[in-house]
Assembly symmetry: D2
């Protein structure tokens, strides 16, 4: 018996691709649809937004200090492959009337839903040919936007924000590029910060990796620390309104399981209807140790878009 | 003597182009510069934004009700001549890994600083070759943005919002297309609403003209009611953080004095450093008679841009 | 018997949707593929281009007169729905050196393969999910071009050009908007012009409809006269290198059979690998009665594109 | 006296920045304007295009062999700073009719007048605020093109082409990156090739530097061999229709006189009204030793543009 037991044990060890990591496959359509929010629902966890959520956040405003969480948008910022951010300043037009009024504007060409500090909507990611709440890509996509799940459905979100500082937990400025944040990490950080998550929260994870923004864009974009499958599943069970981080994809990239590509994107956006908020600027929030705050975000209402660049704030 | 007196009186009557209207010429550079905020100042009335402003606004949040003040951005919206708003949905890219993750995004081509509900910055308008605080266009303009006065300098603004309902004052759904709002109109509306302006307010004027948005774009864009020079000067003296309306230019257009073009743009942006907020969606705010509220706006931080499309909110 | 005969006759009459018109269904893949040019062929009738073709054309150059066949590209031109042509002139950059060299350029945003006088390639039209020579759209399409059948495969074409003047045949300036050009029309015009088609020709059809270009864009774009299925099939059998006209789609639009959409596009591009050349400017060629000429076209080599705007010429 | 003479000689030596190089300053407006072609002329040396020019070229077509002189346009090609070439393939739209016709097109965003193998027009370069024939930039520039000197004025050019192979003269594959081609080089190469220049020629200079295209874009774009001021002045006196090369600016870059920036651009385009043709693909022409040929170019007729990407050919 012993050789068989040893063989089975060895097989089990071989099956897990790395210590602590967990693989994942998206659930079948009939397992995740219809959404708990209803078969026609397009808003997912934004449905948690209501006057109570707003009040809960407003009560956290004590000194009136506002901290910006968004990066400046410029041609110098890191961009995912295939994306661009171009600002073409037009010639000044001088109006002929006597008050000599000259007018300036600029043409912007960009994947404006997916650049800079960005808020992902539910048209952004698919499982096969299917989106959140099993809307089919072929049925809802057009040349000029998605007829369902467009970012204009979200609206402004004001809720309690919680920063989970994993870098501080580990006593480092920046987590290692490949570090997968675990459930234990999240729980320990929250305990250390004396904060408990509540449904509807905007959960903001600080990895420190944002330091590389416009300092080493190649490294920033190549791979990053972040939550993995286990932490993602645990977070999803806490019913947040959104999950964000100071990295491009929020989740660890690449995933330790080389067979799967950015599973948390599918888990949050397509399966659970929880928004992702990427490329946050968290240096000030972390330096000031602001763990609990009013979080306010105003995604642009671009009809049919997959997301929106945003300039969210934390207020305390 | 009497004929002379009569002649002078007649001349004076002839000189004023229309009853109640007032002409205007921009002040000389040395009269308006340096700005009261300092010779290097780029932020104008946004300098009024501070923790007290935030607290004053937060105290107005009583029920947690959030009212959206921004329009959806789509190709159907009214656009100023020469501007466009294009959303090109890219083909889905399917990642090769086993979790069948498909990714969607779109290319947006637009004068994103000057479309939809839009927030004007100080690079937008000139007096001759000179901007707010006398920055010279030739010195601060580049092919890819303005090196001074770019919209990224503004940051989020949270302040007390006051809606001044002139349509309700006049007992109409919509002011007439050419109606110039007077100082008396503003004062009477505020009195009727039992509200007083305070420095740092976001002053939001309801004309009712916003009803034409995507109903009659040609008429909406052709000309509109709004404040004229006198009301503009009075408002500027109240030291608001910004002035907004449910019309494209906020001010009456065309100006009753045919010799001048959109003088309030120069008065607010270039002379006083007060922001303009155009194309607001005010139907809900007006219907619910919300005269005082927490106003929150998050302009995109587009480096060197002349403005930003926005999705501001009123919260009470 | 007679009732049966009458019934059959009635059925036959009912089956043809209009006098002279002919319906069409695209052939099955195994009937049209592989192309007669070979199973990997991407160039279709451009394979007819060779030194003999060039010499045959060069021999037609007798006086050296060059006639332009392409329209000016501007924002005023008729454009198909969903397309645009934008030219944004950038600010002049002045180089700092002593020779005061200023540099100008413009950003162009357009479906440059499909605007103005345009040359259609084989990635442009599908039968179901399949292109010319049965390349599958899903297999050859990417976000930034087609990996097969891109317009860069065509190269310059110099061949004998033949103008078939149907407007002159009918003694009119412009054919009626809905007129379907028949086989007989083509044959009679060629006979009247004393010209015979040869394989490899650029066959240019004059309808006179090009008069509406920038005069009545709405009418020009709404529907137009042109070849129908029968004439298309006859032309295809003459083995031309391309077929062009002074209308947007070359073929009659809409097709008299309301059940089918632009069948000649599929017939020429997808089935036969014959290029289409749209929106030609033929007024001068027709006025000068130039029926036979050297035809030269230089499609841009845009990698992976579906076509190219062009400025072709006739030389005699 | 001798010390003085020596001193003068030394001063003269010091004044010339490098052996054989020659500095240059643009002539005053009243020295170069009006153009010899007339005070309202917009076409410069293209005025040399006429039926004789066409016939002279046609007579050089002996075998019908066509050689492409233009590069493929793709995102991989070298681009000048601030320019881009983007091809966004749109989603296929499937028409609802029974013939299952799917339609593809792409959005192209580029400085299409100034990318790839490109033909410079006269709106492209200024001397101070002044263009060819002293048109003033301020007077003829708009947000959407130049009202004078736009590339649509050129039309197709068919003329005798002469390749001047300097690389072959020097017995190298590629001239050195900083090599300035001299008058003697041009004369010796022509003599060696047994070819004489004639007015109206398209003069094509082979440096071999085109080998670096898409092999080492950084080096290709950084600096290149080419004609300097002396060779430029000699060439201009030969009255060519255009001057081209297999480098980005045609002229040596940087100019040996560090005080001046790309003087040949001003000399040809602004002073003499002679077009420049950049980024030619000359490997085949040079390998086949084709020194004299029919040259045909069809610049796009983009209204008001500064130039056009092109796909010119040599035919013999």
């Amino acid at each position: 018996m012993r050789p068989i037991i040893l063989a089975c044990a060895a097989a089990l060890v071989l099956m897990s691709s790395s210590a602590g990591a967990q693989s994942w496959q998206p659930p079948a359509d009939n397992q995740r649809c219809p959404s708990k929010w209803g078969k026609d629902d397009q808003r997912g966890a934004a449905n948690l937004m209501n006057p109570e959520t707003v009040l809960r956040a407003a009560r956290l405003i004590r000194t009136g200090e506002l901290i910006e969480l968004g990066h400046v948008l410029s041609g110098e910022m890191p961009l995912s492959a295939g994306r661009r951010f171009e600002v073409e300043t037009k010639r000044t037009t001088m109006n002929p009337q006597s008050n000599r009024r000259g007018s300036n504007e600029e043409l912007v060409i960009a994947e404006i839903g997916q650049v800079g500090t960005q808020f992902d909507g539910f048209a952004h990611q698919t499982i096969g040919n299917s989106l959140y709440n099993c809307f089919k890509v072929d049925e809802v996509s057009t040349r000029n936007g998605f007829s369902k799940l467009g970012i204009q459905n979200v609206g402004a979100l004001m809720t309690r924000g919680v920063m989970v500082d994993i870098a501080a937990l580990k006593g480092v400025e920046m987590l290692a590029d490949t570090y997968e944040i675990t459930v234990q990490d999240l729980q320990q950080a929250l305990a250390k910060q004396n904060v408990t998550l509540q449904p509807g929260d905007a959960v903001i994870i600080h990895t420190g990796f944002g330091k590389l923004w416009e300092k080493d864009n190649a490294r920033y974009s190549k791979g990053n620390p972040g939550i993995g499958v286990a932490a993602g599943e645990w977070l999803a069970r806490q019913s947040p309104m959104l999950v964000g981080a100071d990295t491009p994809p929020v989740e660890v990239n690449p995933n330790p399981d080389a067979q799967i590509s950015l599973p948390i994107h599918q888990m949050m956006l397509a399966v659970n209807g929880i928004h992702l908020l990427e490329n946050l600027k968290l240096d000030e929030l972390a330096a000031k140790r602001v763990y609990e705050f009013a979080f306010i975000i105003e995604p642009l209402k671009i009809q049919g878009a997959t997301g929106s660049t945003v300039a969210p704030v934390a207020i305390r």
